[in-house]
Symmetry: C2
Subunit: 198 residues, 2 copies
DNA sequence: CACTTTAGTTAGTATTCACTCACTTACTAA
DNA sequence: TTAGTAAGTGAGTGAATACTAACTAAAGTG
């Protein structure tokens, strides 16, 4: 069935993400994508001039998803500590929804082949770090968090928590709920940072 | 120049590790290895029956290095808190010496192609977790660390610290000294855990 | 020195990959 | 209705890839 270029492009991006999870980012060939989409391999090149451009489109898509998820998380939650929990929860949810994300971080495509892809991901990681740091500063101002720790360092500890957990999840059998385990560990870390109660 | 099989095998393993860092684990082809070693591509297969076997040899080599580094670190250090610092420092040093390690964790070779490789790495990560937990328990017994935190959770936070930092280091320009930044963050975390003084 | 072992070579093969090109068919606006 | 446009096809290409087979020569060993 013939589709408009915009629809087809979106479909191709979605298929790449799905395949990246199922068979690994570096096994996503134009042939595999075409088979999944249901067109010939050559048709893929009607929509993207090169394979690298496809990955850039994927990166744009993911960046949009992450940014939206963070904004959504911050919309409701309000004391800074709750906002931290919301941000971490949202990020863990995004990883669960797109399990290719951690693997993509270290794919050949990102690390060797595609500088634009690499830049996009580094940019989003820095953005998350910034959002977390902002809330840590607010929490310290409200006396909800210990003040004798640099907010930047706390933000690093929190992003590390997310990434370390994602590694364990990816490398293992994905046999725990990322969000639950992450929020549990976050509670532990927050208690160490002086947060009282649940 | 003709070498003994044992020497050649060791050389091939070293070249694979080096190439994995320089061009990415999934770009390490038998041809690239052969060129670096200085023999023909076919000669590589005199020493390893398949490419997967080469990676298993690499995994064995790395596992040995890590295990030795941890043992060495624990040999001298003595209060549990110092032993934690020594373990983390040793691990960061190993990553610095073999920058391919983080990337290898998410390579296609490990995640899709080579179950033995995957198992080897998961095993070493679990081993580090165990060593860290042991020291956390000892530290809590000595009243050097807060007791109202599960030792296992602390060990997870510490391994996450290492991995998160390694990700930032790998993804960025490797423009900071992994050990220094890691030990600085570890000091922050240890302070949160109740350690007093430097 | 003769003989055996074995590291190494040359020259392949089958497969997979990204990408191209000449052509065709479905949609759409005049 | 028809002409133009854009999505899709079929058949290919050259470059890499892991791996093989037949042969050569260097390094021990009696």
């Amino acid at each position: 069935m013939r589709k408009s270029a915009d629809l087809r492009k979106a479909q191709i991006v979605a298929v790449i993400l799905d395949l990246a999870d199922r068979i690994g980012p570096d096994r996503v060939t134009t042939g595999a994508v075409a088979a999944e989409v249901g067109v010939t391999q050559a048709a893929i090149f009607r929509h993207f001039p090169t394979k690298a451009e496809m990955w850039v489109a994927v990166a744009d898509h993911i960046a949009g998803l992450l940014t939206a998820a963070w904004a959504e998380a911050l919309k409701e939650a309000n004391p800074p500590v709750d906002r931290l929990k919301a941000l971490v929860g949202a990020q863990l949810d995004q990883i669960t929804a797109h399990p290719a994300l951690p693997m993509l971080l270290f794919s050949r495509e990102l690390n060797v082949e595609n500088a634009a892809l690499r830049a996009a991901f580094r940019d989003r990681l820095a953005a998350l770090h910034g959002l977390l740091m902002q809330e840590v500063i607010a929490g310290q101002r409200d006396n909800a968090l210990l003040k004798d720790v640099a907010a930047g360092d706390v933000a690093v500890l929190l992003t590390s928590l997310i990434q370390g957990l994602a590694i364990r999840w990816s490398l293992g059998a994905r046999d725990f709920v990322l969000r639950d385990e992450g929020l549990r560990l976050l509670a532990v870390q927050l208690r160490l940072l002086g947060v009282r109660g649940g």
